[in-house]
């Protein structure tokens, strides 16, 4: 797992562009936190990526108009814990009256 910190100006669509750079590669995002940081905003992402993807992602993020900085670091225990929860089982779905789950009915 690698942790990425993308600093950006919180203009229309910038956070979504940051995330679609990941999703277009079919990567899962087990942890993401976006918040204000100093004078701008920061998105923290935890991703399972190889060295080539790291380079590509960092360059793609940097190419986004309102991204101001991209950094990497070692994931904190809190993030890893949150990410581990991502891979765990979902809460059991409620059973509906006809035997199908409520989630299935909604779908």
């Amino acid at each position: 797992m690698h942790e990425f910190h993308i600093h950006y100006r919180n203009t229309q669509g910038t956070l979504m562009r940051i995330l679609t750079a990941v999703s277009r590669r079919g990567l899962e995002i087990p942890y993401v936190l976006a918040n204000s940081s100093g004078h701008g905003h920061r998105a923290d992402l935890l991703l399972e990526v190889n060295a080539k993807q790291i380079g590509q992602l960092c360059r793609d993020w940097h190419a986004i108009v309102d991204v101001t900085d991209v950094r990497m670091s070692v994931p904190t225990p809190d993030m890893l814990e949150a990410a581990a929860g991502f891979a765990g089982p979902h809460p059991p779905a409620s059973a509906g009256a006809n035997g199908k789950s409520a989630n299935a009915a909604m779908a």
Partner: protein
């Protein structure tokens, strides 16, 4: 007090816009209502995709920003292919879409689509305008990002009520981007490493991509290449950057590149890349791409570096600056003698431009047309076999002389793009080469050609197949021609006549004699010199193939030829 639509158009004029392409509809009507007297010429196409491709044609032919306008919902979604096309090929493009009234956004109102959301990953920048006051800054910023760095598409989505609203207008504004603390700075010393790599190289080559042309530094590039005198080749979008008659020039590289170019790219030990992103059509199997090469990559967009292969020396910046810096650096440097390598790479065994192709009468037909074109002509190719034949055979020294949809490969591109090109280059011959499949994807733009009386020379290479797909089916799917048969094509000559466009048909027999008969030659001359739009349908052998060909997943050295 001015209406939002009037402010919008004044801001477009302030950005130098005098020509736009579009298709009206409900949400964008206020903008159309204000067009008259705005100083902006609007070209009505017959489909929004026609509008965006025409805007691309205008941008590609001139270097200016192309502008396409559509209404909300389906109007906007019809622009999407063109937006993706502009993104892939680095075309500066501003798309303006009407949106439902601001109060209705998010309610699934009639003709409401989340244009902002659906174009996020296809655009450099986009804005859903949230008030009439935002219009001037949105337009200024849009044009800035469309032009800046690696050019590309942007979208302005504007709710119809802001176009109708009124406000005091102080005049257009100029957007100034905020500096980014982490912007990559070119290393002032790049030349030392560069010289060191050159000194060690035994088999250097140069690859020229679209970025070299977009930088505008063609004279500087040619001067540098003359000085280096190393085997040089171009991507499909780099064609025209190098003077084709240069003794070191080997033509197009890649899947349908020349044997000489592909072999040199495979064998080199130092690859100088000027503004190319090394996509799969250029590299073949990336794990076997230029296996012995060190790479020096001149590129304006850092996101393009290291995508396929790591480079030893990235030189990030506008080639208009980095190429002259390179040239200056090698003045006085003692570079190795590469005569022997040049003799191999550019030698008689390799340097000919695919003579095997001449056995194909369609290729000969294109040669006959191209040889009759003056230098300032523009050839626009659609997507497919004819595109590759045209790229192989049209040898123009004009950087904007060959236009095609290279990255996205959008069938249906050529005809509407030719509209934009001919409007931008009224004194040039604009030759639009399409296949029978792609031509039918935007055939409705014949009405635009006729309405404007544009003297575009339209060619359909008609093999009654989706030819390139059929070629792959023949070579890699055991001739299972699944759903590529177009033998029930309409009569294109009669269709053209219905649009009141002159049309003729030539068959392959007309190309049997070499040189062609006086009668055929005269017919081609008449076609090209007509002051009217003309269509020429060339009946092509159904199973004609494009060679050389590097099969998908093969190395560049593993080309297939006609006799294999």
């Amino acid at each position: 007090m001015l209406r939002g639509a009037e402010i919008f158009l004044q801001c477009l004029r302030a950005e130098g816009v005098d020509l736009v392409f579009g298709y009206p509809g409900g949400a964008i009507m206020p903008l159309y209502d204000a067009l008259e007297g705005s100083g902006i010429r609007h070209i009505l196409t017959r489909h929004e995709q026609g509008a965006v491709f025409a805007a691309e044609g205008h941008a590609r032919a001139t270097g200016k920003v192309g502008v396409a306008i559509a209404t909300s919902g389906p109007g906007a979604t019809n622009l999407v292919t063109g937006i993706a096309d502009a993104k892939m090929d680095s075309v500066p493009l501003v798309c303006i879409t009407g949106q439902v009234r601001s109060a209705l956004i998010g309610t699934d109102a009639f003709q409401e689509t989340d244009v902002f959301g659906l174009t996020l990953s296809l655009t450099k920048w986009s804005r859903l305008v949230r008030s009439i006051e935002e219009i001037p800054t949105a337009i200024s910023e849009a044009f800035h990002w469309a032009r800046e760095g690696r050019p590309g598409p942007v979208v302005i989505d504007i709710p119809t009520d802001f176009l109708k609203a009124k406000m005091e207008f102080a005049g257009p504004v100029k957007f100034t981007p905020k500096p980014r603390p982490s912007d990559v700075q070119a290393e002032a010393t790049f030349g030392d490493t560069l010289i060191s790599l050159l000194e060690k190289a035994k088999r250097p080559v140069a690859l020229i991509g679209a970025g070299a042309k977009l930088s505008g530094a063609i004279p500087e590039l040619r001067q540098l290449l003359d000085e280096l005198n190393i085997p040089t080749f171009a991507t499909v979008h780099g064609l025209g950057a190098v003077v084709p008659s240069s003794p070191y020039y080997l033509g197009m590289v890649g899947m349908h590149g020349t044997r000489a170019a592909n072999m040199a790219l495979h064998e080199n030990d130092l690859l100088l890349v000027f503004g190319a992103r090394l996509d799969d059509r250029v590299t073949g199997d990336p794990t076997r791409f230029a296996p012995n090469a060190k790479i020096i990559h001149f590129e304006i967009d850092p996101a393009q570096l290291d995508r396929v292969r790591s480079c030893e020396l990235p030189v990030i910046g506008d080639l208009a600056q980095t190429i002259p810096a390179f040239y200056k650096k090698i003045q006085g440097a003692k570079l190795p003698d590469w005569t022997e390598w040049r003799a191999v790479a550019c030698g008689p065994d390799r340097a000919e431009l695919d003579p095997r192709g001449l056995s194909q009468l369609t290729v000969r037909f294109l040669d006959e047309l191209f040889s009759r074109l003056p230098e300032n002509s523009v050839v626009i190719a659609d997507v497919g076999q004819h595109q590759m034949w045209a790229a192989q055979r049209y040898r123009s020294a004009s950087p904007r002389g060959f236009i095609t949809s290279g990255g996205l490969g959008s069938m249906g591109f050529a005809l509407p793009a030719a509209v934009g090109v001919q409007l931008s280059k009224p004194d040039s011959i604009v030759l639009c080469v399409s296949g029978d499949g792609g031509f039918q994807m935007n055939i409705q733009e014949l009405a635009t050609v006729r309405r404007l009386n544009l003297p575009i020379k339209l060619v359909i290479v008609d093999n009654k197949y989706l030819g390139m797909v059929r070629q792959w089916q023949q070579l890699f799917y055991q001739r299972n021609y699944a759903e590529t048969d177009l033998s029930d094509n309409p009569d294109f000559v009669e269709i053209a006549k219905a649009y009141r466009i002159n049309a003729e048909r030539l068959n392959e027999d007309s190309m049997q004699e070499y040189p062609v008969t006086e009668e055929t030659g005269d017919a081609l001359e008449r076609f090209l010199k007509s002051s009217e739009p003309e269509l020429l349908v060339f009946d092509c052998a159904p199973e004609a193939n494009v060679y050389p060909m590097v099969p998908a997943g093969a190395a560049l050295s593993e080309m297939l030829f006609d006799d294999e």
